[in-house]
Symmetry: C2
Subunit: 476 residues, 2 copies
């Protein structure tokens, strides 16, 4: 078969995949060409291999015939990396049927898992062993997608990101066509040459098709303590973080800043949620704190609620002005309701930035000044994971605002903020969403030429025909 | 200047480096050409740049002139990767003078550090901030060397390895000649394309010269508890580990198995150390346990000694037969004395292997059987980090043994054990020592062709002339 000869594509691929594995009717394809929070693309067909062998054959065929693919797990990504563009050039390779294999090793505290398994299904399989995979996200992605995006989540400060919990990996490559790169070890210590799996982590699927992984998992916490705390001012947020890391170090599992504006939006639009600070009105800023531990209270003497109470008591009047200790579930509902609440307020310009923790206060102050001076009609409704430097400096453009929403101006605002984050504070314009068509221009703007050159040479090595995914990491 | 024209090498390099930076007298070079535990090589000169600019110039000059380099930090490596071979082809590029820059960011809990800084000097600079870099090693390596070998150490289970604590990195590349790859961010969340610094971690210096890094650091523990425990049998060691992870999860900082033979060697050869099990004689096997926490006892209610005592009490008679709770320092002295003690017993054949924890018991039993059947004159004196799957299955060949020590036979024994570890138990033949001339043949034996091919293509990309280091990761 020659590379240009794609006329037998439907026949050949549907022969490999069978009727459930090869979808080409537009209705069948619809949900695969539309992303979680962005527009629609075009595809000739969706490929849904049912086995590793099928997947390998499909990749080999596409590599041999110059057929481009976009990889899709649970299609929860936010940067348009998992759906085809409008060109019609891409087939969708969905891994959703590659989800049979979940093998728990409780003694090794690890699990072998197919790439198409979702986070929820993985945790359901781990739960009987008292174990869980601690990457805590708002969505329910596939494990392959989580590796390709190196997701972090709200509890990174305690449990690390996907990379830090990845022991092994298997991938199918475009070059050599359909070759398997088998790095499926379950080892915590293994320094036998370069750790090749690291190349595929956070690569947005551009370097190879991740098909299976070995993950380190953790013991389910036996106790936790949660509080919503009002720091005296922004500097006090960082003081509070330092005290907690020093005095409650191993237990600090979340430290989520919430601006008064974001809290107000939640209370306004989500009727089921009441103001936890009812008597005192709304604070300018608050922090959702969580400690957790797998140590049982009786056995260890450790009482996290008591520890948190005592720690906060000492800070009253100096570092913090108020605190509500509550049921974790109730306080987390506030945090989880923010995104939805903000959408009610107008057009959302969302950010997924991060920076050194020591820069967060200065950045926020500068960003608020910038917004007030240049874009006074925007409402800043920020929140963020201070402990890992993450910040969702989200902006709402009210429907009634003057000027009305303009995509071009939104882009200018986005760039102004990214410049502040990246150029001034050496931060990141994509803390955990990864890179895709949605933010590729920013990758090119902020990534040093030496890095782009190397990333592009790597991509040329692994996908010389540029068939895999929509993201080119090399020089423009 | 042409590539082949190296006649002006001494003049040119000494002009860049000055008299302290360019050593060529054999006496001056002696300590740079001899490794920590292996033989001596040859070099024309040792290059000791005093600044990043000098280092960059030197690398650029060597790349342009086809001059091979071997990188050296504190020269504590165990696989001969940091000293020249006998060919005389390599100059030594020592980073020991690149050690001025140590900038602590207590709020970000991170530190920026030059590659030549030693672990001890780094910890001395962190200590006033209540912080430390928790990779716990027997040696005092340089930070650059620790990154190049991705060291793990005795407390990996709590604090992770170097990779898991590496936030940023800067390297000088051979291609483009002397180019700086600047990845010096201090971010915990940053998913803006492939994480290029990962390529250099654990690469034995073959992919580039690491010159500076940003490390995540941790709060110094405020309390700890240590015990030496006698498990009922080998299966009970893993049961004990699981109970401790479940009930004392966040605190478990070390779990070190020590065989009776290794303990006996310590007691025999290190007079200052007394038998902690004096009354009961020597156990067949024991485990050194450590819990630590940054939470103060009074504030948190957490009492690690009490927690450890209670946890062990419940296991008495079923999982464990005996336990000594002691001053951590005293019990760790036993562990740290093993290597020296073993040397007194004869010629040492040391191992640095690892495997899934669930394989450790079976492996040990099989390995003991193998040794008894085929090499009965050897004494097995094993110990290891069970919690991270690490195992030093060390063998002593007594001076008086029949047959007398033969290097070829030692090699056969080594291979037989590695086969058992890697081929049967999917383990590693180099858990934390990395790859160098000393074990390169094993890299070739046990690494899949697809991995070697990719690692070699990467190396060709970054060092097309193969000038950097003694290790070629590609196909033989």
């Amino acid at each position: 078969m020659r590379k240009s000869d794609k006329t037998d594509l439907p026949a050949r691929l549907s022969a490999i995949l069978g009727p459930l594995g090869y979808l080409s009717a537009p209705d069948d394809c619809a949900r695969y060409v539309r992303g979680a929070r962005y527009g629609e693309g075009q595809t000739l067909a969706v490929l849904r291999p049912d086995s590793h062998e099928q997947l390998q054959q499909v990749v080999a065929w596409c590599a041999a015939h110059g057929q481009a693919l976009v990889l899709q797990g649970a299609n929860t990504g936010l940067v348009a990396a998992s759906t085809p563009d409008a060109s019609g050039r891409y087939l969708v390779l969905s891994l959703e049927r590659l989800r049979r294999h979940i093998v728990v090793d409780p003694v090794n505290r690890s699990v072998e898992v197919d790439a198409g398994v979702t986070l929820q299904d993985l945790n359901a399989a781990l739960e009987p062993h008292g174990l869980f995979f601690p990457i805590d996200l708002g969505a329910n992605p596939s494990i392959g997608g989580m590796i390709a995006a190196n997701t972090g989540g709200a509890r990174l400060i305690k449990y690390g990101d996907v990379r830090q919990n990845l022991l092994g990996l298997r991938a199918v490559l475009m070059e050599p066509a359909g070759a398997v790169l088998d790095l499926m070890t379950a080892l915590r210590k293994n320094n036998t040459g370069p750790d090749l799996k690291q190349i595929l982590v956070g690569s947005s699927g551009a370097y190879g098709v991740i098909t299976r992984a070995v993950l380190q998992v953790h013991c389910i916490p036996r106790q936790s303590a949660t509080a919503l705390v009002v720091p005296r001012d922004q500097a006090a947020v960082l003081q509070l973080l330092q005290v907690l890391e020093r005095d409650c170090g191993e237990f600090l599992s979340a430290f989520e800043g919430i601006s008064g504006a974001a809290l107000q939006a939640v209370l306004q639009h989500i009727p089921a949620i009441a103001n936890p600070f009812a008597a005192e009105g709304l604070p300018d800023y608050c922090v959702l704190l969580e400690l957790d531990s797998s140590a049982a209270r009786e056995r260890s003497g450790l009482d996290l609620e008591q520890l948190l109470t005592r720690t906060l008591e000492d800070l009253f009047g100096e570092v913090i002005d108020n605190a509500v200790l509550g049921r974790g579930q109730d306080l987390w509902r506030i945090r989880h309701a923010i995104s939805e609440a903000l959408r009610h307020q107008g057009k959302l310009i969302a950010f997924d930035i991060s920076m050194p923790r020591s820069a967060l206060v200065e950045f926020r102050s500068e960003a608020l000044t910038l917004m007030a001076a240049r874009y006074p009609w925007l409402r800043v409704m920020d929140f963020g994971h201070w402990a890992d430097g993450g910040c969702h400096f989200n902006l709402v453009w009210p429907h009634s605002a003057e000027p009305p929403y303009q995509a071009g101006l939104a882009e200018e605002i986005r760039t102004a903020l990214y410049d502040l984050v990246v150029l001034r504070h050496r931060g990141s314009f994509s803390a955990e969403h990864g890179i895709g068509p949605y933010n590729l221009a920013y990758y090119q703007r902020y990534t040093a030429p030496s890095s782009r050159r190397l990333a592009g040479r790597l991509q040329n090595l692994l996908d010389p025909q540029r068939l895999l995914g929509l993201t080119w990491f090399g020089e423009a």
